[in-house]
Symmetry: C2
Subunit: 378 residues, 2 copies
């Protein structure tokens, strides 16, 4: 299908940009001498993941068991479920392992560790667990020097559960915007995770994998001594938040929402689009960054940026396109953006915007597109 024929709103992936993003990350990982395990929560799309694996990725990271099930069914068997598991989800995890999936679980507390050990014993099953390490205080995990780290390690190790490694995610990197700060956080993330592995090993617990990553720290890391693998998700498409963090150019952003102009409020300088928050998502991740892109950055159908305009407001199925300069009276909004005109809107957050759609339209350089399904739910 030609780009011009796609009904709006639609989520477009620019395949050339995506491939460039994949190649860039994989080349950096190769240079650093570490394996790369992409986080597939960004796209939940087998077509994208096949491109990541073809470029050299080893295994995947998932944020839900549904992702694990869907990607295992599609032929991926090395899967890290990177959220501390709720004990009630262990039967689904066991079912995957019994089908031959090399599913690795994550915990950051003694109670979940004990639950895995007890469940494994009860069902005669062996699990592999990675311990989540907190290296930046932004969310979950055990800090490298906490006693709980060794406690969790021992609960697993002494009860027949393989401690496969340690993993951390320096998600606070999203709040930074200088290369210097990113390099420093990448080093903090590396050092903390390596330290946790060292403590486990000193306690007699093998800890083969040392897994770190977020898109900004992965791209900023100068050296990863002691790390075995890196994880990152949003790099594959990038978005306006990542642009503000400083790790991509606007024309690296591979995801956009195709929209049609459906009306105007000329006296206010507004063009009304058929892409509201149901299409863009409610993510306003750039609202606290140096450049607030509203609900998205408009571009022409051919991808040319339209500086000076922004999607400034959104209802469920209506977006409001207006000038970024509140003092400028836009008198020609109806002429510049006529009814029926199609635009591409770059999103704040690729993970959130993609989740609003059942499918991507993957656009090739010649303007033809194919449909790539994505899935929803848990």
């Amino acid at each position: 299908m030609k780009l011009e024929q796609i009904e709006t709103p639609a989520a477009l992936i620019d395949i050339a940009r995506m491939q460039k993003n994949i190649a860039r990350m994989q080349a950096h990982m190769n240079t650093l001498g570490v394996a790369f395990r992409p986080h597939v929560k960004t796209t939940k799309c087998i077509d994208v993941v096949r491109a990541q694996i073809a470029a050299g990725a080893r295994g995947i990271t998932v944020s839900t068991l549904k992702e694990a099930e869907a990607f295992f069914a599609a032929g991926v068997d090395d899967i890290l479920y990177a959220v501390s598991i709720a004990p009630s989800k262990l039967p689904r995890a066991l079912a995957l392992r019994r089908q031959g999936c090399d599913l690795k679980l994550v915990v950051d507390n003694p109670i979940a560790a004990s639950a895995i050990a007890a469940f494994g014993e009860q069902h005669g099953a062996t699990f592999e667990v990675w311990i989540e390490v907190d290296t930046d205080g932004h969310r979950s995990g055990i800090t490298p020097e906490q006693d709980t780290l060794l406690e969790v390690g021992r609960i697993l190790h002494e009860n027949g559960v393989k401690v496969g490694g340690v993993m951390t995610h320096a998600g606070s990197s999203y709040e930074l915007n200088t290369q210097e700060a990113l390099v420093a956080l990448a080093e903090q993330e590396r050092a903390g995770c390596v330290r946790a592995a060292q403590r486990l090993r000193e306690a007699g617990i093998a800890c083969p994998a040392v897994s770190v990553g977020s898109t900004p720290t992965a791209l900023a890391a100068a050296q990863l001594d002691g790390v075995t693998e890196v994880r990152a998700g949003v790099y594959v498409l990038f978005d306006l938040v990542m642009h503000n963090v400083g790790v991509c150019a606007l024309d690296d952003i591979a995801l956009s929402v195709l929209a049609t102009v459906i009306g105007h409020q000329a006296d206010k300088g507004w063009a009304i689009l058929d892409a509201g928050w149901m299409a863009m998502s409610r993510d306003r991740g750039t609202s606290k960054q140096a450049h607030d892109f509203g609900y998205g950055q408009p571009c022409l159908l051919n991808g040319t940026l339209l500086p000076g305009y922004v999607v400034s407001g959104a209802n469920q199925e209506h977006g409001i396109l207006s000038s970024t300069d509140a003092d400028t009276q836009v008198t020609d909004i109806e002429q510049r953006f006529p009814i029926g005109m199609k635009l591409r809107i770059l999103p704040n957050h690729a993970c959130a915007t993609g989740a609003q759609f059942p499918e991507y339209h993957a656009v090739m350089p010649d303007g033809n597109s194919v449909e790539w399904r994505r899935f929803q739910g848990w």
Copy 2:
């Protein structure tokens, strides 16, 4: 399935609360002597819509053609597509009408009106169009006194397109929080829409329907003289935004997200949930209201409110539950919210949270639940 057996995260509908909300709105409409046409964009779920129709609703409002197609396939044939149509979507609209769907379109500009007239003539088809009226300046539509109103009316009327009515949506009601202001806006919405109909009729254009509504104005309206029908969506489930507007109690909110405690950061007073923004949505609609509920209000599994706690942060699959009192050191977070504990989180915005899920679990008073599918996309 019993409530305790549902995997988390999950979207729960409390059927008793939903039925109470439906009955309340329908009774108010009956008292005011107007028809009620619920907006089904909130749930996109045929089970909910059947309950609304059973209570007395006449026809439905949709925000996408996919909703129109899905509900027509499920047996609903009186459908108002309440977004000014992009001309490129006319073939889908025509296909629905040719299948027998009484689909009404909406426009608010001469170009779309001309496109409908031309498309209808080209295909030997008759469309019915309602003209969108702007009564509060918050989004789209033509103000009642604008010349454009009659221009659009004439384009339709003189080219064989039936002008079925006028419609307006006073969406700025979401920004209010007193009964007095809501009553005044409801009257403004009514008066503006009735005036638009009067001008069309004086110009010789029949205008049978006069359709107004938003959940807050619908519930606040004291009299609706000249109005033939009211539309509202979110009233069926309600949410925290509507609670802050003042049109529902917290225990009227029929939608909640079932979540499990999966970890803690005890020194910060955090319990970590397996419901992040992918489950709650990124909607932070209460952030600008008098009471900011963060990403949601926690309740026990039985629905008992937990005042003093809030979902204060969210990553994709992690929610952070913490005390609302920043000065209070929560020292017993691990004891109060142990690993594995299930909670129900009331959402900011029912339309946005529901859209994150492929299905609702509709919970009956005895604790048993059934699955109600909803759909996604355009």
